[in-house]
Each structure stands twice: as structure tokens, then as C-alpha cells.
Symmetry: C2
Subunit: 599 residues, 2 copies
């Protein structure tokens, strides 16, 4: 057969790598291994650990049946023992929200846990499919093509939030019509909160269907200390981003002329940025949580960056990589104030502003309504960002904060400041508080240097990669855990794995112990709080202790591509290893590897 024919036969996702990684064995924690050495479900026992969030009284009112049943106690998996595995159970699973690497291995884990005598259904296109009853049977042999493969495409996904009475009734209809004994929801904080509501609702309706959540988000902000070191997808996404940022580091040092500004996905926490910074050691990495904590203004951030660029230039380094978290703008206190003032104005004067014919009229109308500080800040933003703040609205009539091109805003401001420094060098260089020590030749060099920039946004390419060996193992265990919980008749739990360095410990976290009640804009909201970067954490300390050295000496790293074989294939996020107190991040241990039987 000639190569053209061979090549034409590769259509349909069969890359050489995918052909091989489907065959890879997966580690399995001992609790899932029977006496015969086969992978099987686990049973659960109560631990002496409880999960209780602030405002628990209110949660107990809203989720009375779930709270009564689980008593906020964390469960731990134990070997199933000699009792026969339940049979005839029907379990459906859906993906919710943005893709994350490893979703397909959750299906693999579920299929293996349920075995031949129970039935697994896939729900197409997320919550929307649950509402519409769009289910299909997943057989063990279907798993063969998707095991260890990235993406959510086997089921699809969707962002519908199940809120209305009508939607809950539709969910009930799907559960009843399909005689489901279990519903597994793979999603982020919103979806897991939704899972808790569905679980409570089905109990109230007298329907015996277990609802189990699986923690997914590449952002890394769904975590709960020692109970949930990380959600799945974070390891893969940060490794892809670290590969690319590492390459840009190497390219910057090679081409010796560019500053690459890299915005990293993650609208709330800067956990992705922190992990990528530790992996790649760039010239600069901004951490939103630190900027909020230190109450830094936009001008102070610009000042911080420009001074590093200037000091590097003086040391002969005119290139580098600057990491910017996607959610930065909302963590700059003065920007938050401006945006909240704008939102208030736009709500109160919606009609007036709408009726004004030109952008200039709207501007004239708006400025006097702002506080002087916010007006000054607004006026100091580039024209296209001002225009966007005035004209673009989301569905709730608010400013579209996520649309602000933060990295371009920074580049713009940095250019102005650099020009100022070149023209008024005496104010910035020399002896004295806040000035940069430099010889006349060094100042001359700085004045002659140009700032060439490139901006990048990394996000989508990290969501649907093939999972790393860690994420593949982690998600397979999460699937086994969720399947086991359903077989054990548990409801209202989130599957979790801890102790990545010691074989893996399998937990079930009561969802009601993760949810808090909050007043937001005068409305009560139930949320799983995002886990932000703590300035007290070991991972942030590792960053803050080392960053000045990285800036000054260009000590970057380039971690390279995700490996599936060889000595570097078993790494976990360095932030997770530091914060969990593991001895290393270069070799996880989630149990001995097993070939997964999918015949």
C-alpha cells in the first residue's frame, strides 16, 4: 500500500499518537482493585472529617434532605468486599461548561465501575440534553476509541443553567422516563452547585436517583485544600501553556528583540498564571490576587513592569515574556470601582444614554456622573477601551469586562511610560528613592533601545488536548469513584482524589459542605466559592521568593511538550505539589498501572 492510500485511511481522529495512547495502561488506586487483580467499584465509609461552609444554617434550610442525610461528613472509599456488585442500575452522565482534558476518561471509569450488569448512558450537549432527554447508551467497547483522548466531543457540552421550575420538572421527566438510578454531572463550580440542587429536588420529589458531581475546570479555582487538591484539566492546560510560554521564553532569548505579552485564560483566579510562572520563570508574571491585596493602581502596575524592563535593558537584556492573567482588570481596585460606577450609571440612565446619538454625546453625559477618580482613570484609557466601556453591554446590561484586551492596554500604557523615561531620564535614573542606578552609557543604551512587543492569548488550545498521564489517571479514578457512589446509593457528593504522591486516597465530598449563600446585588446566590491564589500559600511563596532573580538574570525555563512515555511523563502541577506538601512534582503515584479491559 502506498503512503497516499495509507494517509487517506487516517481520517477520523486517528493520529499516530492517539492510536498509541489508547493502549496505555492506567494507574488504579488499591481500593478499586479486587482480590482477583481486576478493577471493580469501591464501597464507602464515613470519615471523622466534616465539610461545613460559612452560612451553613441557610444551606441546611435550602437543602434540608441532603444535609440531613449526609450530615456534611466526608466519605472515604474502602474495598467493596465480597458482597456482589449491584446490578440493573442505569446511570447517565453529562459534560457541562468549557471542555477540559480527561472528560472521556471519566466515562471510561464510569463504564468500568458499572461493569456489564449495569448500563451507562451519555447525555448529549450537557444540561440542555438533560432537559430534553437526549440520551444514548455507552457500551464498554465504545470507550475504546475515546480512552485517554482529549475533548468533550463524545457527548458535547453546553452552558445551560438549570434554574426554572419548568427546567427542574423536565430534568425529573428525563430521570423518570429513563429510569435513571444515577446522574453524574461533570462540571465546574456552577454545575456542581446545580448538581446539589437537582439532588435535593429529586429527593423532595421522592425519586431515588443519586446525583454526583465531578470537579472539572482548567482554571484550577475549584479546589478545597486537602480535600480536593485540584480539579481535572488544570494539569493538562497548564502544561500546554507552559510549553508555549517556555518556547516564547526561548524565542525571546534567541531573537533578542521581543517582549511577548501572554494573556492566560482564567477569568477569576490567577492559578493558571502562577503555575505557568513557576514552570517557565518568565521576566514578569502578574498575579491578580496580589494586585488586589496590595491595592495597586493601573499606573503602579505599569510602573512595576516598566522598571523591570528598564533594569533588564541596563543588564543588556532587551527581551522577555510577561504573563497577564485574563481576569486582571477586575482585580485592580480602581478599575473595579470604575466598572461598578459605570454599571450603576448605565442601569439608572439606560434610556438617556441610549437616546444620545453619538459616542461623544454619551461620553459628555457620563463623565459628570462618575467620581473624579474614576473619571480620571476612564479618561486615561485608550480610546477603543473607553468606547467599549460605554457601548458594549452584556445580557444583564453590564460592562463586558472580559472583552477588555488587558494585554494591549498594558502595552499601550507601557509605551507612554517608556517614552517619558527616555525624555526625562534624570527623573528615573540615578541615586535616590525609587530611581534606577545606571551609568550614563547604560542610560544612553536604554534611550536608544526600542520596545518591540507581540501579544498572545492562550486558552482554547489548552482545553481539549489529550490529557496528561496525570489527568488521564485522575479522571479515570474520578469516574470509578462516581460509579461506585451511584452503586452505593449515595447522593449529593462530589468525587475527589487526594494524596497524589501516595497511591491516591478516594473521597466523596458532601456538596452541601462546599456551597455558601451570598448576597449579590441584593439577591441571594448559592455558590461554590472560587479558590483563589493565597499570598500565604507555599506556591505563591515559591514565586515571590524567586521572581526578582528571574527578572534580573533571565533564568527562564522551557518545560517542553507533554510526554506520554519516558522519564518526564509523570509530572503534576508544581503549585499543587508545593501546596499539598508533596516531596516532589516529578512523579505522581496513583496506584499500580493496569491495562484497561474494554472488550
Amino acid at each position: 500500500m502506498d503512503l497516499l492510500t495509507k494517509f487517506s485511511e487516517t481520517a477520523g481522529k486517528h493520529s499516530p499518537l492517539e492510536e498509541e495512547i489508547r493502549k496505555l495502561p492506567l494507574p488504579v488506586s488499591s481500593v478499586f482493585v479486587g482480590k482477583d487483580g481486576k478493577v471493580r467499584p469501591a464501597a464507602f465509609r464515613e470519615t471523622d472529617m466534616k465539610l461545613v461552609c460559612k452560612g451553613h444554617e441557610r444551606i441546611a434550610e435550602v437543602f434540608p434532605r441532603t444535609v440531613e442525610k449526609c450530615r456534611n461528613i466526608v466519605l472515604e472509599a474502602v474495598p467493596f468486599g465480597d458482597t456482589p456488585v449491584p446490578e440493573g442500575k442505569r446511570v447517565a452522565v453529562l459534560f457541562s461548561g468549557g471542555p477540559a482534558a480527561g472528560g472521556h476518561n471519566v466515562l471510561a471509569g464510569l463504564a468500568i465501575a458499572l461493569g456489564e450488569k449495569n448500563t451507562l448512558y451519555g447525555i448529549r450537549r450537557g444540561p440542555k440534553g438533560l432537559i430534553n432527554g437526549d440520551l444514548f447508551e455507552i457500551r464498554k467497547e465504545n470507550i475504546r476509541s475515546i480512552i485517554n483522548i482529549g475533548g468533550f466531543d463524545y457527548l458535547g457540552t453546553d452552558r445551560t443553567k438549570i434554574k426554572t421550575d419548568r427546567q427542574f420538572a423536565q430534568v425529573k421527566e428525563t430521570v423518570v422516563e429513563n429510569k435513571l438510578d444515577g446522574l453524574v454531572i461533570v462540571g465546574g463550580d456552577d454545575s456542581n452547585t446545580n448538581a446539589a440542587f437537582i439532588g435535593e429536588y429529586l429527593q423532595a420529589e421522592g425519586i431515588g436517583c443519586s446525583v454526583i458531581g465531578i470537579p472539572k475546570t482548567i482554571d484550577g479555582d475549584m479546589a478545597a485544600g486537602k480535600f480536593l487538591p485540584i480539579s481535572f484539566g488544570f494539569d493538562t492546560a497548564t502544561k500546554i501553556f507552559s510549553e508555549l510560554v517556555g518556547n516564547l521564553n526561548q524565542d525571546a532569548a534567541s531573537a533578542v528583540k521581543y517582549y511577548h505579552f501572554v494573556k492566560l485564560m482564567g477569568r477569576t483566579a490567577s492559578k493558571i498564571t502562577l503555575e505557568v510562572a513557576l514552570q517557565t520563570k518568565p521576566a514578569i508574571a502578574l498575579i491578580s490576587e496580589e494586585i488586589a491585596e496590595k491595592n495597586m493602581s493601573l499606573e503602579q502596575i505599569v510602573d512595576y513592569i516598566v522598571k523591570i524592563i528598564a533594569r533588564r535593558r541596563i543588564r543588556g537584556i532587551n527581551h522577555g515574556v510577561i504573563l497577564v492573567p485574563e481576569g486582571l482588570v477586575e482585580f485592580i481596585p480602581e478599575m473595579r470601582r470604575l466598572i461598578s460606577e459605570l454599571n450603576a450609571c448605565l442601569a439608572e440612565y439606560e434610556r438617556d444614554i441610549h437616546d444620545l446619538p453619538t459616542l461623544e454625546n454619551k461620553r459628555e453625559f457620563l463623565y459628570p456622573l462618575l467620581s473624579p477618580q474614576s473619571a480620571q482613570l476612564m479618561a486615561s484609557l485608550p480610546p477603543d477601551i473607553q468606547e467599549m466601556l460605554i457601548l458594549d453591554r452584556d445580557d444583564h446590561g453590564n460592562v463586558k469586562v472580559s472583552q477588555i484586551e488587558t494585554e494591549k492596554l498594558l502595552i499601550d500604557k507601557i509605551r507612554f511610560r517608556m517614552s517619558e523615561m527616555k525624555r526625562h531620564a534624570d527623573r528615573f535614573f540615578g541615586e535616590g528613592e525609587g530611581k534606577i542606578a545606571a551609568t550614563p552609557e547604560q542610560i544612553d543604551g536604554f534611550q536608544k533601545a526600542t520596545l518591540s512587543t507581540q501579544s498572545h492569548f492562550l486558552g482554547y488550545e489548552g482545553r481539549s488536548s489529550k490529557p496528561t498521564k496525570f489527568d488521564a489517571a485522575f479522571t479515570f479514578l474520578l469516574g470509578l469513584t462516581a460509579g461506585s457512589l451511584v452503586l452505593a446509593g449515595k447522593t449529593g457528593y462530589m468525587a475527589a482524589v487526594t494524596d497524589f504522591d501516595r497511591g491516591g486516597r478516594i473521597l466523596a465530598l458532601p456538596l452541601v459542605g462546599l456551597i455558601t449563600a451570598e448576597m449579590r446585588k441584593g439577591k441571594e446566590e448559592f455558590v461554590i466559592e472560587k479558590s483563589l491564589v493565597s499570598l500565604e500559600s507555599a506556591s505563591f511563596k515559591a514565586f515571590s521568593l524567586n521572581r526578582d532573580q528571574w527578572s534580573e538574570q533571565d533564568l527562564f525555563s522551557s518545560p517542553g511538550a507533554i510526554q506520554y512515555w519516558g522519564p518526564t511523563s509523570r509530572q503534576i502541577p508544581v503549585t499543587v505539589a508545593l501546596d499539598q506538601g508533596y516531596p516532589d512534582f516529578r512523579d505522581f503515584n496513583l496506584g499500580p498501572e493496569k491495562a484497561i479491559e474494554l472488550e
Copy 2:
């Protein structure tokens, strides 16, 4: 030692992957292996193959000494035999132009070929360093930290073109002062042409210094059929891009809402786009050479894309990836005409246009000077692109074609066309020539669907990655070849490797056989012609035979990350394998692997 301490010690490029890949053995073609099994230089013999470009008479006039000496005959490496390896030679090497993966292994190959008894020098910052005499000695033990590692940062690089008499004299000074016996220039077509000029010049000056070129460019457009299947860096860059495009394919199918428009680096040939298309099988890939050949207009390209989007929508697919080569605009014949008319006007009326105060005045002035076709095309472009065409000039006063955001231009035009199709569905759907067959429900579905787009540019992240196993091996052999050529006293050759499927054949191509003389804007220019995508090639046929199927059925592939261990680590570009007639692209053979001794 705790993890924080361990972590802090990793500063300075020591990622776990880099620590390991430095130890990897490299394949070595038999011609470089001595009887004792050690790696050593080769000797050269003349083959019966000649390389002669069109206009050779003129080349023979410009490079009389080189042509007389090499007689355009291709040399082939043969084992060195029992004669002792020359000693006391001094050889310098430089990187020129944009980084490409594998540059450091060229240094490794040179160091090994020269051995202990000769001296290797690195030239800092490319041609500029050659002019300024900025050299430093590279010892074998220095190679240990850079072998198999990406980037050009060990030497740095630069884009200075050596043109003036003064510059040639400075090069001579560097060569004479440092008593260089050899000069190795790692670069693209321009740099290799420059190498030929320097070689001729040094001969004319009576200086016995070999000048050898090494073919580097990620763009893949420096190639010469069976003599030079590919330049180094292409394999690595296209694998990085294919990884990312594959991930976006997977993400598009998972999130089921986006079309990702991906612009791929490469200002001339679409070779990168063709390779990435074969690797990833996207919804659409545009090949500039085909568009030029078929004389397609911008509107026809938009039409082609929109019809595929519509047909996919009818089949229930509302997502996908669209690949756009960076150089597209210059291959659209009508755009070429517009740009050349604009350049002519701007040259003739430079002063007039400059003196007009506003953009609107300039526009009024320019339009009557264009042909009606070009005026219409110009007027149909988005305002910011019109503005850019009128205002932005490069150093030669020409339109900055490379700055045109082609993917955004296409997105803009596609949106208009889709709206038109939705409003006037009867003109686009139904029976008849060029119409799309669809049921009323399908048309309704199309009218309700929204087009969500994301645009990406892939380039810098592919230039400085760690080299693939292929590029690492290829560049090591190129370094061995260049070192051997210098020791053999050869000048005016480019190192080349062929037969990647059969142990590697080592060639030296006469540079004067690759260079043509061309009249460009009334000026004679000497160039190595870019190798474009041939519509007759096996690789293009593999694409054109399969692309409709990929568009219609979403049969994408996701090749995943570059591997350094395991069964998928030895791939080469599929376009190269197809065009060279190799039996497969999944396992190269460049000789048995040898541990490289760098003590």
C-alpha cells in the same frame, strides 16, 4: 531537601524534560562512523549530479572562482578512511534570521566533527557579530548544556544583510584576524546567498577560508527536490502548530460553537499550512499557491469558505477550524494588483499625499489614481485595513502587506456574506448551479445559527521549541557535514541530507547551483528561489483528494504533543514523506543511535 528548595534550584532552563533530553543518543549516518565505532568527520567525492539554475551564465560571471572550482557538481560524503584528520583548523559559526529548532545541534555536530585538535568559535548575534568580530571559543563541554535544546540563544541571531564593500572588508578583517579556516552560516535563502558571495569574495581576496551554508527555515520553502527534501526547523514548527490546531479541532467539536481561524506563519509558501492541514484535517485550509494559480478573487475565497460553513451547518456541524497561510494576501491576484498600484501611486505622489492633512483627503486624492477594479476592491475592504493601506509604509515606502490581518479580513467578509445568505436564502439554497441542496428545515436551521469566531496566529511558539527527534538528528548530521566540508577544504557548498528513510545520504550542494539572477524593479537581484507548494506534488494531491471529505464529515485529527520517547517519537513531515516517495512518515532512519560523548 524540601520541594521549595528543590524548586528554587531549577532556575536557568533546567526543566525536567531538558535535563533528560540532553542525554538522548542521536542517530549517525554510517559515513560518519569510524571503524572503532566512534563518530568522526567524512570525506567527499564528486557525484555525477549537477545543480544548475536558470540564468547560469550570469551566475558564472558573478561567482567566477566558485563556479570554476565546484563546476556545479554535487558532492557526496564518503568515509574518511585511514588518513589522519586535519589539525589546527579554526572554524566559526553563526546563526542568521529567525530561530528554528535544532540550531544548537548544528553546533554539536560541528564540535564533534572538528574534534579536540581543531577549534570551534561561535559568532555572537549573527552577521552583525561577523562584521564586528564578536567571537568566542566553543568547547566540547559547552555543548553539553545545549545539545537537543531549542532556540538560538547560545549565539543569538540577527538579520543584517552583508551588502556593502565596507561590510565585506569587515568580514575579511574578522576572518583574517581570527585566522579562520572555515565559516559556517546557518540561515535561510538570503543568508545562503550571502554565504556564496562571501565565499567568492574571500577567494578573490586570496583568503583560504571555506564558507559553508546550512539550510534553516521553519517555512519549509528552502528545499530542492531530491537534493534537499527540507530545511531544518520545519518538522518541529509544523508539529507544534499541528498539536495546537489539533487541540482547536478537538475543542471546536467539544464546545460545538466556534469556528477557529488560524493564521500560520510563512509569508511566502503555504508549505506549513499544507503540512498542518494533512496532520490535522481541518474543515478548511487555504493554500496560497492554489489561489494564485486559479486566479481566485477575495470574494471567491469568501464564497468558498461560506459555502462549506453552510453545508456543514446543514449536516448539523456548526464549528470547525480554518487554516489561513500568513502570506495569503499577496497570492490573491487582484490584491497583488491593488497593492502594486498603491505602491506606484505612493512612490509618484509621495509628497502630495504626505501634505494632505486628513485620512479622508488622502483617500479622495488616491482613489481616482487607481484602476476601477482596484478602487472597487479597496473600497470593499474594512475601514481599518483601508487606513493601513493608505498610511502605513515600510522602510522602502511600500504598503506593509505582512501587517494586514488576513484572518480578520476574512471573518469580516464572511459575516457579511452569511447575513446576505440568511436574508436571501432562495438565492443560495435549492436546486440549480452553485446552489446548496437543503430542506426548508435545514435552511431554517442555517438562518437561526450564529457564527462565533476566534482568531489565532501561530508562529513564534514554533520557532524555538526543543527540536523533534528528527530535527535533532538532522541538524546534528548537518553540523557533522559542515565540519567535514571545512576540514576537506571545500568552499561554497550547502550541507544537505537526503534519504531519511534509508540511513541518510550526506550531500554537499554547490551554492552557485541554487542561485538565480532576477530583475526586480529594474534591479538585478541574486536569490535562492523559494520552493512553493506545487499543485502537481503528491502532498498537494493528498490534500486535494481528501479535503472535501474532511469538510463534510468533520474527520479531523489531533496529532498531540511532540514525543521524545515511545512509539510516536520518530515521525517526519508527511508532506516530505509523500513528495520524496518514502514508504511512511512514522519512522525515520538516519543511522544507528550513538551516545554523544561531550566530556
